[in-house]
Symmetry: C2
Subunit: 121 residues, 2 copies
DNA sequence: AATACCAGTTACAAAAAGGATACTATGAAG
DNA sequence: CTTCATAGTATCCTTTTTGTAACTGGTATT
């Protein structure tokens, strides 16, 4: 399956815009953790260990995910002059553009859980 | 990292609702293909090979993804009495509840691409 | 010096996802 | 009988993702 790197001049019938846009989004915030991390950071900036605990994610994965989010301009990493040194991760203004996505997923997950539970109970 | 199977009685500070809801959503439509397939099916029902071609996804993966979507009540599978037999996949009414998610991701991906391109160009 | 906390990194293993190819089974067309 | 199209499945392999545990390096506390 080839990469969808068809920025321009692509055959619309084979690689329609909607499919492309969704894949673009998934490239940036897809995977198991990125949207979870962003949703946690919406409560305010957090330090590395705090994020690790709150998301229940190991330091290795967390480090990688945060680097990718930083590279995509969604979070900032700030080293604080405390002892011991702490590092704060915060959302950028650009990450606000993801609000609709996160709110929609939050709402859907909530409703879906309700429906699954009432079906089970 | 433990499963987030805390349906009730969970410690809100460790497993807040937003994180949980998003993880619930990802459990159902996370991964590389499910939202892409749903977005394609929003144009109307498709047969197996059509989906395979349009999404550029191999039959093995497509089969697995469609089964999972069917199990979660998001698509229906209909065997048609044609020769050779064809199978139609279509969205269920319940899948409409994902519209906000899909539209939000579509919009974000589109805008993000615009921004990345203007920054590169 | 021993201990502990912070922010990671390294090394390794396991699991999940993805992909290529070939194959089944059915039925029609040539 | 061969070829083609349908919808998958089976097998094998590679890549990606995720996880565990231990470890570095810096600073402070006891």
């Amino acid at each position: 399956m080839k990469k969808h790197n068809c920025i321009v001049g692509d055959d619309e019938s084979v690689c329609p815009k909607v499919k492309l846009s969704i894949q673009d989004t998934l490239d940036v915030v897809g995977g198991k953790w990125k949207l979870v991390l962003i949703s946690i950071l919406r409560d305010g900036k957090k330090r590395f260990r705090e994020l690790s605990r709150e998301a229940d994610i190991s330091p290795r994965i967390l480090s990688k995910e945060l680097q990718e989010l930083e590279m995509n301009g969604l979070v900032t990493r700030t080293v604080c002059d405390t002892r011991p040194v702490t590092v704060e991760y915060a959302l950028t203004p650009y990450s606000d553009t993801l609000s609709e996505v996160i709110i929609a997923m939050h709402k859907w997950g909530h409703e879906h859980r309700r429906k699954v539970m009432e079906h089970a109970g």
